[in-house]
Amino acid sequence: MSARKQTIVVVGNGMVGHNFVEKLVDAGLLEHYEVHVFGEEPRPAYDRVYLSSYFSGKTAEDLSLVPPGYYEEHGIHAYLGDPVVDINRRKKIVYSAKGREVHYDKLVMATGSVPFVPPIEGNDREDCLVYRTIEDLEMIEAKAKVSKTGVVVGGGLLGLEAAKALADLGLETHVVEFAPRLMPVQLDDAGAGLLRRKIEKMGVFVHVSKNTQLITDGEKRRNKMVFADGQELETDIVLFSTGIRPRDDLAKKIGLKLGPRGGIVVDDMLLTSDPSIWAIGECALHDGTIYGLVAPGYAMAQAVVHQLQGITATFTGADMSTKLKLMGVDVGSIGDPHGMTPGAHTYVYQNEPEEIYKKIVVSEDKKKLLGAVLVGDASDYGNLLQLYLNEMELPEHPDDLILPQRSGSSSNLFGPAALPETAQVCSCYDVSKGDIIKAIDDGATTLADVKAVTQACTGCGGCTQLVSDIVNYELEQRGVEVKKDICEHFPYSRQELFHIIKVEGIKTFDELLAKKGQGHGCDICKPAVASIFADIYNSFAMEEDKIGLQDTNDRFLGNLQKDGTYSVIPRVPGGVITPEKLIVIGQVAKKYNLYTKINGGQRIVMFGAQLNDLPAIWEELLAAGFESGQAYAKSLRTVKSCVGSTWCRYGVDDSISMAIKLEHRYKGLRAPHKIKMGVSGCTRECAEAQAKDVGVIATENGWNLYVCGNGGMKPRHADLFATDLDEETLFKYIDRFLMFYIQTADRLQRTARWLENLEGGIDYVKDVVINDSLGICDELERQMQFIRDTYKDDWYEAVHNPEVREKFRMFVNSDERDPDVVFVKEELTGMYRPATPEEKLKGIAVEVRPNA
């Protein structure tokens, strides 16, 4: 193990340069290489793509791509604010502005680009600015303070983003574009026209076909722009956004081969004319193209890292499709948006009232997608891009792709089977469907295996459903019987466990484990079994032998927050609350310095309660007549209601009373996942009942019942289940429906997903619940009656049972609170929020929250 480590020097600590370093770390290459990074800017790499959010309150730290201490932790030498000024290629030494000399074995140029400023007379005036770095933004912000008007030169992607920034800073904003339309590269005339109308509606002035010739002193404003057609425009600020030029000054100085119009020439290996030097990102000229987007830059970084790992890897170009939210307008452009390919056909969908424009360009035989333009609604972008990138065969009528999906027509173009292998499924860890298939081919047989191998689902978790669908689909394709086993401890599904526990009358986890399982259990099976015990016996979460089964939220009867504190949400049935109770919430929140917010469930949440304080807080709330809101449990959450016939001029029935009745009827009911309900007083549906697991809407003749709606990650409109019901029948159906769901759903499966996976679908559920086709309705109702009869308020139990109450403490041997939980005053709201890791680390001077 004596081989000397080789040295890699990275010139440029921008988005791509840093991504390269990160990839080196992740590939374990630091074992073999010592890494030195030089950056010209004074701070570590930050997210230029989100640069504009700096104006909406993001700080340089928020934008940073480098977690504090990252370079130190990995032993990477980073020199910031110290550009490389020269390189001796023969001796392989870089020289920096501050006099550092570092020898390298391999060198990576990632010097990015600079904004291009067209050679217009007056372009060097004091008010002429560009938009690329945090320093540029600081300058724009400072100038804006003393200005009234701003002009952005350039109506491309970046120009429009810059215009938004100026408008947000309160300036009268103009966009001046040389071409006859906005975003000339990506959009066609019609799409650009619509975009222009939308932007003008927001108060931004758009001038196209304007060729600026001179910038000089203005009369009313500080500057005046003069155009080739003789017209003039007065302005204080001129912001150039007319493209980029690769940053190749250093490369030029050391004699690397450059392109005719600049850019460091690289081959498919990303090697420059010097075989020890690679160039990646916006400074690299590959096959005559400079890629002005991050994704191709990251792909280049990946290719170089692969080469260092000994894997043959090349970069052969990248797709330049883009999707953006420009000034609040969704815009997408894919492939050949102008239909320049010979024989291409186009389909256009234009919706004037809703301001939507969609165009697809397809091949002569109408089998392949060649390009697309989306303005106003880019929700199809992902799907269209997959069709384009993977050259997938189009449906018989390609226009189905852009025509709105009206009710009735359901498109299954994009199920797990239809997705191409290259489709990115997990964006957090860049896992494609192909990666998942490979994991399965390599022996993974469960979702857990696939997660462990690919890291999919381990970031934000948003892709879990899709990944799980793909895993199940692929396993079924291979004839593998998809094990519905809940986990390695029980060879049963949740539904099977439910029946075993019920039929055999099993009452403890240990008994269940001894009879039907193995090992000690885990965080999957334990909460699921706890929930089943609650469904069947209405057992209390804090019984001694149940404590270890509970997810932390159920064990401490609050929602665990990122810093280890809990949120407190009392029940507010139907969203209706008396002034007296409002005052009590205010008093409690004030006393314990909690952060209050009106939440999405028509009630009030108090954030930041410490474990030790929970019983005292709840004691005060209970005394004022509040009950637990069970916002921590997989159980009924809230019943949302609208105004209803008591007050609303359109209300046909009393939605408020109905909501309150429903909330009291089903409160505390444990279920495989949370349950939400809504009641609207008329068909205008202000309570959004059709987005709930159970929705009720008043009609002239009674109540309409809707089921299996969902908001959240994958919204689903509820299905109409029965119409014009009287109250008694309504409750009866809901009782049966909920119990049937509880007994048959998988763990963590909302009613919407349950229905989608249920053979026979909604008609089957109607048959069971309305026609009693399984002959179980009596039993379902009896079980619901039992749960209702034995309902106890969790928090009442916890506060009034000394043994339980004593368990709400941080430490068994001390009354201290967690010393690492620190709150600081938030300027915007004047309330206390958790301190950020940086604030804690640096002990930044902030006002810290006192204890109650």
């Binding site: 462990a452 404590i547 932390t552 280890g564 430490f811 041997n813």
Partner: protein
């Protein structure tokens, strides 16, 4: 080597965790099959002191705790992260003597 008493056996909750403070060190104690296991209470994946509030059990036969925040699994035996992240929590020697629960926080072993 200094074993310190942190609580009594009755304070432990079967198949669940509690936390104790020894000087500045936060220790999470799990009581499984009449044995006590002590690990650090700080979850490096989330940065919060929450380990004792996690569900314990086993994965492929190795005793573990699942952090309640993002469900990272740590071995109660080695402290290592069990789902492939380069993270670990310290493991402390712990024992039950008579009715006393003892922990030695000076003798932490931290997996690489």
């Amino acid at each position: 080597m200094a074993f310190i008493k942190v609580c009594t056996k009755d304070d432990l909750i079967p198949d669940a965790g509690i936390a104790a403070k020894v000087g500045d060190v936060q220790v999470a104690l799990f009581y499984i099959d009449d044995e006590v296991y002590a690990v650090g209470n700080h979850d490096p994946a989330s940065g919060a002191n929450v380990i004792f509030r996690g569900i314990c059990g086993d994965l492929h036969g190795e005793l573990m705790v699942a952090s309640p925040l993002y469900k990272d699994h740590y071995s109660l035996i080695t402290g290592k992260h069990m789902d492939g992240k380069d993270l670990a929590i310290p493991v402390y020697p712990a024992k039950i003597e008579g009715n006393d629960v003892l922990v030695d926080v000076e003798a932490a072993s931290q997996a690489a």
